[in-house]
């Protein structure tokens, strides 16, 4: 066995990913994408499940939202393409309103299914500059069932966002040479227990021209909890056990609270604004805990891995949007400023990130009922542009002499969706 001793030391130190919910990045439906996701106070029916589940109860008819989104990353590290994998996937939303004794109830589910993975867990070397929030941001599935009730000018919604952890109950490999024959055996028992984050929302229409919304989503992540045991038996060479314990947090999706408002200055125009607080400070280390325990006849000296707290900051993201209706046509635009929760990376970690400016536009058309259609169909398209501010990081010479990296670039998004009512 030949390897660098660094293999025993620093390569054990790897960094996991932290990312907002994929639908926070891509939008659930093209109407949301076209208005920079600033639709929590106006979204009703299926598209409301993710933005503010209270809007689920405001749908007039059962509806099905089907959409497809694509995000192309043009992000650079040190001036070269960071080569991030483009994200694309399908959105499905179902809303079923029910009226009982004058009370409007609603139930539904929002799904986002990436085309490529249900989820992807990457652990990069800790010192390697990488986009901790973007490289996997949109590469996980979203499942959000919700219910809602509307009473008068008020509506209330609740639901959950579902994800799973990965925990090894038994992950044992027996390798060796017995009686001159190579032997290999494995026992695997890995559980994927469900993780749940609560969703809640409230909607209030104090006047015909004003709508207010508040929503909350709990923290969510995919926690990896693996204990890998290798029983090695090569007589007269090496026997014993090697245990690798990995604890990591991926897809950390922070707790968030959103306040939204919508103003209708004219019947054909709505102006919206959302302000979201995200609690990134709960991320903890941001670096997995990886421990190796050797009980072999021949044992190299090991070096403890380093774990630095991530020290991410809580952030507040403002977003605004507008929608103008003229006939069957809807024109939309939006903008937002998304500060970075990542602190200055002068230490051992190299999380590339930056404040983002978001600009979006979109259009939709409503096909009214006719001889073929019993209910209206909405067809929507949107494009979005995010600019990630360029950052040049110089490392603390005492921690990483000569270390420096630059980051920044753009993210281009497109979204198309159809909302069918029954």
């Amino acid at each position: 066995m030949r390897r660098t001793s660094l293999g025993f030391a620093l390569s054990l130190v790897v960094a996991s990913t932290a990312a907002a919910d994929p639908l926070d990045e891509l939008g659930f439906g093209a109407a949301a994408t076209g208005m920079a996701n600033a639709r929590s106070a106006v979204a009703v029916g299926a598209e409301a499940i993710h933005l503010d589940p209270a809007g689920l109860a405001l749908a007039e008819r059962p509806e099905l939202l089907v959409g497809w989104q694509y995000a192309h990353d043009r992000l650079a590290i040190n001036g070269d393409d960071a080569d991030l994998l483009d994200a694309h996937g399908t959105s499905l939303g179902l809303a079923i309103p029910v009226r009982i004794s004058g009370v409007q109830l609603g139930a539904g589910i929002a799904l986002y299914l990436p085309d490529q993975f249900l989820a992807r867990i990457q652990l990069a070397p800790i010192s390697e500059p990488h986009y901790v929030r973007f490289e996997s941001a949109s590469h996980r599935a979203v499942v959000e069932p919700a219910v809602a009730i509307a009473i008068g000018d008020w509506a209330f919604g609740a639901g959950v966002s579902l994800l799973a952890d990965a925990r090894s109950r038994e992950l044992v490999f027996d390798v060796g040479v017995v009686g001159g024959e190579k032997q290999g055996d494995a026992r695997l028992d890995i559980a994927l227990p469900v993780r749940i984050a609560p969703l809640a929302g409230v909607r209030w229409r104090p006047s015909p021209r004003v709508e207010l919304a508040a929503s909350f989503r709990g923290e969510l992540s995919i926690d990896l909890d693996l204990d890998i045991v290798a029983n090695i038996e090569v007589p007269n060479v090496v026997t014993g056990d090697a245990t690798v314990s990995l604890r990591s947090v991926s897809y950390f999706t922070p707790m968030r609270a959103t306040l939204g408002t919508a103003i209708h200055p004219r019947p054909d125009l709505v102006l919206t604004a959302d302000v979201t607080w995200e609690r990134w400070s709960a991320l903890g280390s941001g670096v997995p805990d990886l421990r190796v325990l050797l009980a072999l006849d021949i044992m190299p000296p090991l070096v403890e891995s380093m774990r630095e707290p991530a020290r991410f900051r809580d952030i507040v993201t403002p977003r605004v949007g507008a929608e103008w209706r003229t006939g069957a046509l809807r024109l939309r635009a939006g903008a937002g400023y998304l500060p970075s929760p990542v602190p200055s990376q002068t230490g051992i970690t190299s999380f590339a990130d930056g404040a983002r400016v978001l600009a979006t536009t979109g259009a939709g058309i409503r096909i009214e009922p006719n001889a073929i259609l019993a209910q209206p169909i909405d067809l929507d398209l949107a494009i979005a542009w995010q600019h990630v501010a360029r950052a040049l990081v110089r490392k603390d010479a005492e921690l990483q002499p000569g270390g420096a990296f630059s980051s920044g670039g753009d993210i281009l998004q497109a979204s198309a969706s159809a909302t069918v009512r029954f």
């Binding site: 660094l6 030391a9 994998l85 390697e128 021949i298 070096v303 990483q400 630059s406």
Partner: protein, 459 residues
């Protein structure tokens, strides 16, 4: 073929399989991946360790090789070795690249076969766990094989030892290789290095080799570019190649319009005891680091001109890390520093001087073997330091110990001499070194040239 229209439709929808994301850029420090032995070819033979005998395989007297540029150009059991197709000779396991392994019984790189392994090529049989050709005589075999008992086998030789009607086709000749100095030249890597015949270790000269992959080099031209010269370091500026090197007088420089034909040398820093210079152009001046009295020193001056202000900038004690506590990163004590290699690296706006060097010291706490504590003796490992171009003498040492140190079988630390790094156009680093082992006597047993790559294996 039926899948093609489906793939086209999927691709149009963006659903086709996509290449995975690649690893991010390296810092040039860690983690390194051992890319194995560097092949340096002089004609049809590669350079082997100076203390090892020549090695090759017996071939029929009239056998002729086919020229190649890649392994795919060759027959099933052959590889492209120094520009020709032949069954590859091996002396140690690292001579063969997976999936091939060194079959020490025949000193050839072989492909394993059998249950769970890839099938042998057409016309081959799986005999004794390896793919073999059947034959009536040696003309039925591939180059590097002879026919014995109707099976194509490898028969190793060292210049002699082949049967009548055969000749020894040498693939490897011993040569002392020291102080590599790689330079990126477009899409090629040019490697200047110090060579000496094994019997005349002091008869050193600077040679030039060229490679397209940074692993397989061919000496070009097939003679030295600088005679009686040692430890080259290359600076290219405005199309002119400047070679800094040492000789009996001191530190010299010579220039060349093509990197091959160098003009007369001029001494830029006189004095004995100077070794292993490494030069970089920064801030309008050339900064030359070199080893002297077991420490790293530095001098500056105009490119090609005399160097001034020579001074020690890194003593062994200053490179020590930690206190030797087991479980912590340390590198102490360090008794000697050697072979600095400098590179200007980093993103625009933050380019700094990166300096790799060899340090002789202890970087590992004791291991254990069958319940007994096993001391790990000091050895030469690769260290790293950095400085701002505006203050090149103020070196900050990598605070986690050596950045590269190879370990065999958990406890055996080999020596890495003459580290030399390059940064390729795509931000990857390669770190060349000379393999060695040491005992009390002789000081070192030199091995071959090896290389680390910075690209992590997560793709």
């Amino acid at each position: 073929m039926k899948a093609i229209p489906l793939l086209l439709v999927l691709a149009a929808c963006g659903l086709a399989p996509e290449p995975d994301g690649s690893a991010g850029p390296s810092t040039g420090n860690a983690p390194w991946r051992d890319l194995g032995t560097v092949q340096v070819c002089l004609g049809e033979q590669s350079l082997g360790p100076p203390a090892a005998p020549p090695g090759g395989l017996c071939v029929p007297q009239a056998a002729a090789a086919i020229e190649c540029s890649a392994d795919d150009d060759c027959a099933s059991r052959e590889l492209c070795v120094c520009g020709r197709c032949t069954v590859a000779y091996c002396a140690v396991a690292s001579d063969c690249i997976a999936p091939r392994f060194c079959n020490f019984a025949q000193h050839r790189c072989d492909l394993a076969c059998g249950p769970g392994k890839p099938a042998c090529a057409a016309g081959e049989q799986c005999l004794g766990g390896v793919c073999r050709g059947r034959c009536l005589d040696s003309t039925d075999c591939q180059l590097g094989e002879v026919c014995e008992a109707n099976v194509c086998i490898g028969d190793d030789c060292d210049g002699t030892g082949c049967l009548a009607g055969e000749r020894c086709d040498l693939q490897r000749v011993p040569q002392q290789v020291l102080e590599p100095a790689p330079v990126v030249a477009g899409d090629r890597i040019v490697l200047y290095l110090e060579l000496a015949p094994p019997g005349l270790p002091e008869a050193r000269a600077v040679w030039r080799a060229v490679s397209s992959d940074g692993i397989r080099f061919a000496l070009d031209p097939p003679q030295p570019v600088l005679e009686t010269a040692r430890a080259p370091s290359i600076v290219v500026d405005a199309g002119v190649t400047y070679a800094y090197f040492v000789d009996a007088v001191g530190l010299n420089v010579a220039s060349s319009p093509d990197g091959i034909s160098f003009g007369s040398r001029s001494t830029v820093l006189a004095g004995s005891g100077i070794s292993a210079p490494s030069a970089v152009l920064a801030g309008g001046q050339v900064i030359v680091y070199f080893a002297r009295d077991g420490a790293i020193a530095m001098a500056t001056g105009a490119l090609g001109g005399p160097l001034v202000d020579p001074r020690t900038v890194l003593e062994p004690r200053a490179a020590e890390i930690g206190d030797g506590t087991p479980g912590t990163a340390f590198w102490t004590p360090i008794t000697e520093l050697a072979s600095p290699h400098v590179l200007l690296s980093g993103p625009d706006g933050a380019r700094t001087i990166h300096l790799w060097f060899s340090g002789f010291g202890t970087e590992s706490a004791p291991g254990s073997k069958f319940g007994m504590e096993e001391m790990i003796p000091p050895n030469f490992s690769v260290g790293f330091a950095a400085a701002e171009p505006s203050d090149p003498g103020a070196l900050a040492v990598w605070p986690y110990g050596p950045v590269a140190d190879r370990v065999d079988e958990f406890l055996t630390h080999r020596d890495e001499l003459g580290p030399a790094a390059i940064e390729t156009a795509n931000g990857e680093f390669r770190l060349y070194y000379v393999d060695a082992t040491h005992d009390a006597t002789p000081a070192f047993t030199l091995g071959r040239l090896g290389v680390f790559g910075s690209e992590p294996a997560r793709n």
